[in-house]
């Protein structure tokens, strides 16, 4: 089970993942590998299974079949902490301050002292450019600020992989950029990331690889330059055509 990991091991290995809700097959055998520090962007029409895939990686859904390995270990309850997730609707804790949101899980789960956790949280807030909002409550923040707090909260558990599920879709146009900027910086710092997004700027400039999925299967994959300039598949071409 706990085989020692080597840097050569992929950070994520997904093998023939399948998931259905009732008669609806949402994921139909998805497989991929992701190296340490790589940024993978999923694009595809709504209902294509992108979000379900992320939710399986975050253990919010149980796949019907297939395997997920994170950093060489079979993904189970104990390894859950190695994957962080940021949601479309932020899901900040409204009854806690920004600092409270970030420090809750480290204190409860990692058992770190309040002082150490607070120092870490301040460092994370600096990284997402919100140090001045430590004492604010979520309701006092803009959507973009809330989402950046959510990113900091997730990072506080020191995950090996970060999942982003359409994190800018609920934001006003002018707030999208500040969130994407933070994600770009995170990628540049070497975080392994799986991103579901409709933001082509991000896909083009930050992603190492792009997966186009539709109807629960990977239709096409490749580096962003190629996917955007010369998509092989007709479906990919049509999807990108609709977006641009």
């Amino acid at each position: 089970m706990n085989t020692p990991t080597t840097p050569a091991d992929p950070m994520i290995r997904v093998n023939k993942l399948e998931k259905h809700f009732g008669h609806l097959k949402v994921l139909r055998g998805i497989s991929f590998e992701l190296s340490r520090g790589e940024v993978l962007v999923f694009i595809g029409p709504s209902g294509s299974g992108k979000t379900t895939l992320l939710r399986c990686l975050a253990q919010l859904e149980v796949p019907d079949s297939g395997e997920i390995w994170i950093d060489g270990a079979r993904f189970d309850q104990r390894t859950r902490r190695s994957v962080g997730m940021v949601f479309q609707q932020f899901n900040l804790f409204p009854h806690l301050s920004v600092l409270g949101n970030i420090t809750l899980a480290p204190r409860l789960v990692r058992g770190t002292s309040r002082e150490a956790v607070t120092a870490e949280a301040r460092e994370l807030l600096r990284r997402v450019h919100l140090l001045d909002k430590a004492g604010a409550y979520p309701s006092q923040l803009s959507g973009g600020q809330q989402q950046r707090v959510a990113i900091a909260r997730s990072l506080a558990m020191q995950p090996k992989v970060m999942l982003f599920d359409e994190v800018t879709s609920a934001l006003d146009r002018e707030l999208v950029k500040e969130v994407l900027q933070v994600m770009k910086e995170l990628a540049e710092d070497g975080m392994t990331m799986v991103v579901v997004t409709h933001e082509l700027w991000f896909a083009r400039n930050v992603a190492d690889r792009i997966f186009f999925i539709d109807h629960g299967v990977v239709v096409e994959e490749g580096p962003p330059e190629r996917i955007f300039s010369a998509p092989k598949e007709e479906r990919t071409r049509r999807f990108l055509g609709d977006l641009v």
Binding site: A58, Q59, L60, R80, R81, V83, G84, M85, F87, Q89, N91, L92, F93, P94, H95, L104, A105, L108, V109, Y137, S139, A150, R153, S154, M157
Partner: protein
């Protein structure tokens, strides 16, 4: 000229002055009413919270017990519960407890059934995203309930809980049948002492009315303050 017969009714003369010697007794009764109500509300809140958590538990047996408790005590009249507890339990088990304890227990157990449903609604009103975010942060189910769901649920259930306390102040008058000398019981005593039942019960009714209105307004004030200062 018509077939109507008018009863000759002597005009009733109120004699409020007969109540004056009993003012300390009424005050004492009001104090007992508050004691019983507060104690029973605390019992009700604790039982209600436990029942709500059991009602939402993963283990089916717990859910069944919680549902049975809620159904039973919402279905049985409070007066029946009180009398049964006070007289029945001592007969069945040979343990006797004071009328005060029986009253607090009966009121608390019954109110717990209603409060359980209030707490359950509050817990279920918290968006699923809160639980999901907590899970991805590695919190256990118990930690999620304790640190994420309950603090938010209790905040939104505060107004309905306040309402149950206002009802409690009035429903506690039923324990007068167990001879607990609360405000209602004092009214009964004064009525039979003075043969002025109308005055005694009117006076008692007015006090209940004033007390519930004042408490309700006070709770509304606290609610507003709390809402503003989050």
């Amino acid at each position: 000229m018509s077939g109507l017969v008018f009863l000759q009714v002597a005009p009733y003369t109120f004699r409020w002055d007969v109540l004056i010697p009993y003012v300390p007794a009424f005050a004492w009764g009001l104090l007992i009413t508050f004691e019983v109500s507060i104690a029973a509300e605390v019992v009700g809140i604790l039982l209600g919270l436990i029942a709500a958590l059991a009602r939402l538990a993963r283990w089916p047996a717990l859910r069944v017990i919680a549902i049975a408790y809620i159904d039973f005590f919402r279905g049985v009249p409070l007066l029946a519960t009180l009398v049964w507890l006070y007289y029945g339990v001592s007969l069945l088990f040979g343990i006797s407890f004071s009328a005060f304890s029986a009253g607090v227990a009966g009121l608390g157990i019954t109110y717990g059934a209603y409060l359980a449903e209030i707490f359950r609604a509050g817990i279920q009103a918290i968006p699923k995203g809160q639980t999901e975010a907590s899970r991805t942060l590695g919190l256990t189910s118990r930690q999620i309930m304790q640190y994420v769901i309950l603090p938010q649920a209790l905040r939104i259930t505060l107004p309905p809980i306040g309402n149950t306390f206002v009802s409690m102040l009035k429903d506690s008058s039923l324990i007068a049948v167990l001879a607990v000398t609360d405000l209602m019981r004092q009214g009964m005593i004064v009525a039979s002492d003075t043969f002025r039942a109308f005055e005694a019960y009117t006076f008692v009714a007015i006090i209940y009315y004033l007390v519930t209105v004042i408490v309700a307004r006070g709770l509304a004030f606290i609610e507003r303050r709390y809402a503003v200062s989050r």
